[in-house]
Symmetry: C2
Subunit: 248 residues, 2 copies
């Protein structure tokens, strides 16, 4: 049984907590946060604390924290042999005696249900032994375990911004264009699902469709005329130019 202390109470912390608690081989023995209010939801299921000096001894201290506070908090953890690991896609591995990275490559929102067993977990550790422990802990929740160094992880994190964060923003632009014209956004959802499904078995550049790749200037011109919002117009122009440039 692996004992885990989770530091943080945001979306990643909440989902990691749920994933570990569902595993018979892991136990989250404590959750830390400096604000007592945010600990309330965890109190029924495990011990909680707002005091870093009261952290229990554990196999893993999982820092599900904002990038800019990870190092500061990590330096205050007193542990004999526990691994101190963060879940950040962009921060380097910490310089503590036993350190690691436990980066779940997924988008976590409150309330969304996830199949944790399919979430890629990207691991890094400062020793072979610690990597072995992190791998064993990772396998408790997911079948998709990858060993990835910090540079590679930063590449993945950057790609993830394009395929997840920016993609979601395009969905939101699509929604606002529909709303302006009193059209239900729901009508686009089959298209959105198929667009993501298509790249499961195809390279996205092989299945590009739309006016840009057809160099259909009359449609492009009409679309630009329809767009009221200045920044939406700029995005339309830049992405169209990028598609044309890529496929030329």
């Amino acid at each position: 049984m692996f004992s885990i202390v989770i530091l943080g109470t945001g979306n990643v912390a909440t989902h990691m907590f749920q994933a570990f608690q569902a595993s018979s081989e892991c136990s989250v023995i404590q959750v830390y946060n400096h604000q007592p209010d945010s600990l309330q939801v965890f109190e029924k299921s495990t011990a909680t604390t707002t005091n870093l000096s009261e952290l229990k001894q554990a196999d893993l201290y999982l820092l599900c924290l904002k990038d800019d506070v990870i190092e500061k908090l990590a330096n205050q953890i007193q542990t004999n042999s526990g691994i101190i690991a963060h879940t950040s896609g962009s921060q380097s591995i910490l310089e503590s005696a036993n350190s690691g990275v436990f980066y779940p490559l997924q988008t976590f929102s409150k309330g969304s249900k996830l199949d944790y067993s399919k979430i890629p977990i990207c691991l890094e550790a400062n020793s072979e032994e610690n990597l072995k422990i992190l791998r064993a802990i990772g396998k408790c929740i997911s079948t998709e375990i990858f060993e990835i160094n910090s540079a590679q992880r930063q590449t993945l994190h950057l790609s993830a911004v394009f395929v997840c964060n920016f993609t979601n923003h395009l969905y939101s632009i699509g929604e606002s264009i529909c709303k302006e014209d009193n059209m239900p956004f729901d009508i686009l959802k089959a298209l959105i699902q198929e667009t993501s499904k298509k790249i499961e078995s195809n390279s996205p550049s092989d299945v590009q469709t739309g006016p840009a790749i057809r160099k259909d200037q009359s449609t492009i011109k009409r679309h630009l005329g329809q767009l009221q919002n200045k920044i939406h117009k700029d995005i339309y122009q830049l992405l169209t130019q990028s598609i044309i440039q890529k496929h030329d």
Copy 2:
């Protein structure tokens, strides 16, 4: 039984052909294209022609053609009472005696298998009677039938460019960033699927994540430093700015 002549042999034509042929209430009695080679795949299943003056009498002439040739071809169709409809998201309804629009709101690629029954079909017709016929034909292949006028259809088509064509291009940028660093794109696919799944039951603007919405300037700065490709850098900057502007 509705008799249908399909004009065109591209992705939309091919998928519409398959959808209608799977229905017991529709029959594609002929496929037209000016190039004989592209008709070969249809020859085993139905009549074909390269000559517009040889078109059979049908209930529906479905023009699955590039926008700029729709009108020209439509004017050459000689029919007694058949409806002449196109499948374009952006073209207005034709001015023939019996005219309509039969716009399947989906992305069609060769080789991809689709559940046609879930594809939204956006209909428009020049009379109540013709609308009734198009609705009956639409229901042969899909449960998602919408009556949409030309202005609304153009709005949907514009939104579709953002949520489908531009989204797919972001996937392709993610893939090229991974490739440059010898990382498998596959590792991002669970994230891509979850990003599209999340908006099934949430407004995309409510589930925006990532460095832009957190105004995490140090990550944004590092990402811009990582990007080698000039246009990818411009896209990163513009979409980041747009997310910050929207959520401010």
